[in-house]
Symmetry: C3
Subunit: 253 residues, 3 copies
Amino acid sequence: MKTHLAASAIALMGTQSFAQDLSNTLPDSVASVAPALQSYAAKDLFGTVWNAETLSVRDRALVTFAAMVTRHEADQLGRFTELALDAGVTAPELSETITHLAFYTGWGNATAAAEAMAPVYAERGITADDLPGADPELLPLDEEAEAQRQNMVQDNYGSTSQGVVDYTESYLFRDLWLRPDLAPRDRSLVTVAGLIAAGQPEQMTFHLNRAMDNGLTQEEAGGMLAHLAFYAGWPRVFSAMPVAKEVFANRAE
Amino acid sequence: MKTHLAASAIALMGTQSFAQDLSNTLPDSVASVAPALQSYAAKDLFGTVWNAETLSVRDRALVTFAAMVTRHEADQLGRFTELALDAGVTAPELSETITHLAFYTGWGNATAAAEAMAPVYAERGITADDLPGADPELLPLDEEAEAQRQNMVQDNYGSTSQGVVDYTESYLFRDLWLRPDLAPRDRSLVTVAGLIAAGQPEQMTFHLNRAMDNGLTQEEAGGMLAHLAFYAGWPRVFSAMPVAKEVFANRAE
Amino acid sequence: MKTHLAASAIALMGTQSFAQDLSNTLPDSVASVAPALQSYAAKDLFGTVWNAETLSVRDRALVTFAAMVTRHEADQLGRFTELALDAGVTAPELSETITHLAFYTGWGNATAAAEAMAPVYAERGITADDLPGADPELLPLDEEAEAQRQNMVQDNYGSTSQGVVDYTESYLFRDLWLRPDLAPRDRSLVTVAGLIAAGQPEQMTFHLNRAMDNGLTQEEAGGMLAHLAFYAGWPRVFSAMPVAKEVFANRAE
């Protein structure tokens, strides 16, 4: 079955290594304890969902990686690192993704991801010198929009936790989001994927709007929701659907 | 303490292997770093909760397994696989459970579960030939009810993500839910357990009603909530209680 | 970089072993696959956040440990156990913390924590004899307040799940919360940290009020929120902020 999958996936997705990677995300144990699950994976998830035109294969690999990091599925992250690299996500982009998700889904997730990624990077000869450093030249900041955001948060939460307000400004919006080695659109993509995977639709309105401001299309957002139904589970996506619907509606006005 | 537990559990639950399995879900490290926790487990959780008459031991084992899969507690799933098999959950039912939870709690959870289950199945001589295949004869579908559900979702979310709407119909309601090797009542049971364990009470109304339509009694549902307080944590259950209360009230009218 | 961190941390935090422990929570793989993340950790998280005066280093270590247990980050818990012990959390307190979190975040979390803690305890010569037993002399109970709580829950949920109501009274409020080896203020602290880390702001009002009744100051609560932004992720904290804000406002009236 895996050979068959590889063949069809090559035709649709272009590279043999990617097709093999996708197949590798399903360990042999699945076929031995749940043959039906193996079949759903090969035929429907790999054969149909990954090929749907709504979202590029590269974006699917990035979104899947972000969801797995968020869910702390460290045991499987090595295989999804291979997959992402072969799907066209660059090593610097993956590196920035876990740095970003450290802030957005918790430090321990990024640490576990680093442990899983290190052997893959080592095998491919990717070293720290190839990766973004601590102090790159930052992207330009829309000072006015940032001042507005900061004032709102300060007014709202300054007396609740000044630390949260201060760290949000200095570490996130005047630093992390301006790092150049992950495009703002991709930074938003992994943030929204993380929010869906973590079950936090209540935080999604701001970030889905930001994603679309940063270039994510509505079709891509819809494709991401369908893709994540598999990797984060149907209920996570159904809780995110009303938020997406409302964001789309408000932007169409 | 473990020997004592085994003795009392045998009297109440019938088989020595089950009592031993239950004891095995608590590794020796618990007694060495938290003796009080060991005592709570032996006396209260194993000795009292597992024996409460509200829910059968077989159902408790299935519900616990579903909660552990949902929470990605892969390190402990081998022991809970043994427990479920010895409590009367069949290997085909467990196989269907992880296939079902792949869709309802994320593919990576099912993959991790397969890895944990494979050694147990191998030791017991259970092979893929003993397990449900990809294309069984499906249970009959209530076409009218399904058309109604599908129309509602299409109207509501078709323009948000047609992919989600289409996959929900073709993979879930016209396929997965109709697979015969896990009874609809048990399929609902593991779905609701997964929703409680994942902290998604907002998705529970539909599935708890479906579970009760499929034969789950109110007493069993209440028993499941009390059981999951231990395995998913008290706050998850207290967030689910108002939903259960409302479902029970609406059905009583 | 680690050496530099150790030096500055020693100056601020007093002990070399603690500074080394903090540095150890970041495995070498982080520097090799995400140098920027290593820098954020050393400079901002360890160098600034851990030193902020809003919350003591001891409390930060306890809160971080509780968050990691709640998130089932078992792979990293050994290092955070070392950190907590060197920051002044006692072995009995850590033991009580996982017992408490078994009830508040799920049995499997505590089991995984025990597995991670056991080697650390063994190496330090901490045995079961040094730890709280199953039946200590309990702290006095405010019978009137407990009767009021119990009556409210009985009225509200007795017909939903009598098991939940009964277990809550007998195991939690007439037993667990009265165990003397973790101060009520600390028990509340780890409960609230667990709720934030698990993404359950809807259960936080009761427990944050209880924490403050038990002696947690508003400044400490705000400091915990800022600290957990890193360990549970920004969105978890932003979902908790409105609840904290409202609790603070209501108590100020």
